[in-house]
């Protein structure tokens, strides 16, 4: 038996090269997208983009302030629905639910997470747009919330499972009721992880376009009523990018840059919270 095979180091080199190649293959598209958006968007980005609404066809300039505002409104509303449902659902699954019911809910959440977002939009359309006889920001927010709920629920559940049972017991043994233990010990211990999950869920819905196409619809003006169509950043990018005007294309690129910037920031923030020191 020999200790050194002549092929060992060759194989090692070959495999290392393969892995390096795979890493480059993964990172290249990201780099290309980023650089291209930066190149196309940066030249079109100006203060006007954040303060002006789109100009009528034919005029140059204008911005997407209404889209930014609309996206913010709908994300906040979606969060108001999606956060409590997702977090409370996760608390039920880990702290209170029996095993069979929990399995059913967990499976449903996974299915819901896997449903294409355009179908979520159709559901909101059927449930809200049709009965209310009109597109609305509210319907847009509901469709976004439907996407948000399973993400928040599953990430929160994973975080709650990481809280050691000994901590819950320590609290209960001091005569603290279960609901207070859940609130003050379990949820408090999992807080940073839950925030991370929520930020990632927001990043996800911030870029969603399909469900807004036939719920919020979008428009070219300032709209503050939740029962009326409202602009959203991804919608405006979509509409402007397919329009036949050079000026609108430039705005769409600027919008894309801003959207990617928001995603990037949210992901960085999520990582920051996720990395905070925790004992346990």
């Amino acid at each position: 038996m020999t200790f050194s095979s002549p092929f060992r180091s060759v194989k090692n080199l070959l495999m290392t090269l393969l892995m390096v190649a795979a890493t480059i293959a993964v990172l290249t598209p990201l780099g290309i997208i980023f650089l291209h958006i930066l190149k196309m968007g940066a030249s079109s980005l100006s203060l006007d983009f954040f303060t002006q609404i789109p100009k009528p066809t034919g005029e140059t300039g204008g911005g997407m302030a209404n889209g930014l505002f609309g996206s913010a409104v709908m994300i906040v509303m979606a969060g108001c629905i999606g956060l409590p449902v997702g977090v409370l659902g996760a608390v039920y699954l880990t702290e209170f639910g029996g095993s069979r019911r929990a399995t059913i809910i967990r499976f449903s959440a996974d299915v819901l997470a896997g449903i294409p977002s355009i179908i979520t939009g159709m559901v909101a359309y059927t449930l809200l747009v049709v009965p209310m006889k009109g597109f609305s920001a509210l319907a847009g927010a509901v469709s976004l919330a439907l996407i948000m709920i399973p993400i928040v629920l599953r990430t929160t559940e994973e975080q709650l499972k990481l809280v050691p049972g000994t901590l819950r017991e320590a609290s209960l043994a001091l005569g603290v009721p279960l609901w207070r233990t859940t609130l003050k010990v379990t949820l408090a211990s999992a807080r940073t992880g839950i925030i991370t999950g929520v930020l990632l869920a927001i990043a996800r819905i911030a870029g969603e376009t399909a469900p807004l196409l036939f719920t919020a619809l979008g428009n070219q003006f300032w709209s503050r009523k939740l029962t009326e169509p409202m602009a959203a950043l991804p919608l405006q990018i979509f509409n402007f990018a397919i329009a036949p005007y050079e000026d609108w294309h430039r705005l769409a690129w600027a919008g894309a840059l801003v959207l990617v910037g928001i995603m990037f920031t949210l992901n960085l923030a999520a990582r920051y919270f996720g990395r905070q020191k925790r004992y346990s």
């Binding site: 017991e169 320590a170 209960l172 043994a173 001091l174 603290v176 010990v185 408090a188």
Partner: protein
């Protein structure tokens, strides 16, 4: 000797497993009672039924009676939360709250309930930490995180947290099994002092420890209580063959 806690035909089932089989036992007030026996004999299960910790396990079923000052703690309508305030518990592994300072950990029982009285808070912290002989070691760093203490200090902190809410009975589930011999010695000295004010019930798989700290000992085997009596009698002149075999190290 007055009886503080009494088990009357206690049975605990987990699903189809019959973990504790018809145990009747009395725990005298202001004394230390040790429950010994090999792993899986049901000693921890008995201890956890004393403060109704099994309520949280859906598959667990507790039958029989447990009397605390002659009142059945499993009677319909009894609030387990109230029982847990009267019967405190110290766990196998030190489990201070990781997000809290030493100071806040002592007060955890009040803080988590939202019943903290600011004027007496510092007094409670000082007296509780003094009782567990931790005060001199930590008095200059009460605001630092509790996880920075050593394992033995953490366990004494957990005991301080338990006595801070003034229970009547303290349950200890192998409180020294994660500690080194010196830390163990300190906890054992502490247990001896605690019995002046509290009724202490300690589960241990360390027979020397049971012999050192307890006044009474109950020997469990396979979910049944084989024998109980004063520690001296159990360790010198046990009536049952099984007890003698276990104590002399022939099995377990």
């Amino acid at each position: 000797m007055q009886t503080k806690v009494q088990l009357d035909n206690l049975n605990v089932h987990f699903g189809k497993t019959h973990a504790v089989k018809g145990v009747s036992l009395e725990f005298p007030a202001n004394s230390v009672t040790a429950i010994i026996g090999p792993s899986g004999c049901g000693k921890s299960t008995v201890l956890r039924s004393l403060n109704r910790m099994h309520d949280l396990v859906p598959a667990a079923r507790v039958t029989g009676r447990i009397l605390l000052d002659n009142d059945d703690i499993y009677e319909r309508g009894v609030d387990p939360v109230g029982i847990r305030r009267r019967i405190g518990m110290v766990f196998q592994k030190p489990n201070p709250f990781p997000a809290m300072s030493i100071h806040d950990n002592v007060l955890a029982g009040y803080k988590l309930l939202g019943r903290l009285n600011r004027t007496t808070a510092d007094e409670i912290v000082e007296s509780s930490l003094k009782r567990v002989a931790l005060w001199d070691e930590v008095k200059d760093r009460l605001k630092t995180n509790a996880m920075e203490l050593s394992g033995g200090q953490q366990q004494r902190l957990c005991i301080a947290r338990t006595i801070a809410v003034q229970p009547e009975v303290i349950l200890m589930d192998e409180p020294c099994s994660a500690l080194d011999p010196i830390a163990t010695l300190k906890i054992e000295e502490l247990i001896d002092e605690l019995k002046e004010q509290y009724t202490v019930i300690i589960v241990t798989h360390n027979m020397q420890q049971a012999a050192r700290v307890s006044d009474y000992t109950a020997f469990f085997y396979m979910g049944e209580m084989v024998e109980c009596g004063t520690t001296k009698m159990i360790f010198t002149t046990p009536e049952q063959r099984q007890t003698e075999d276990y104590i002399t190290g022939r099995f377990g």
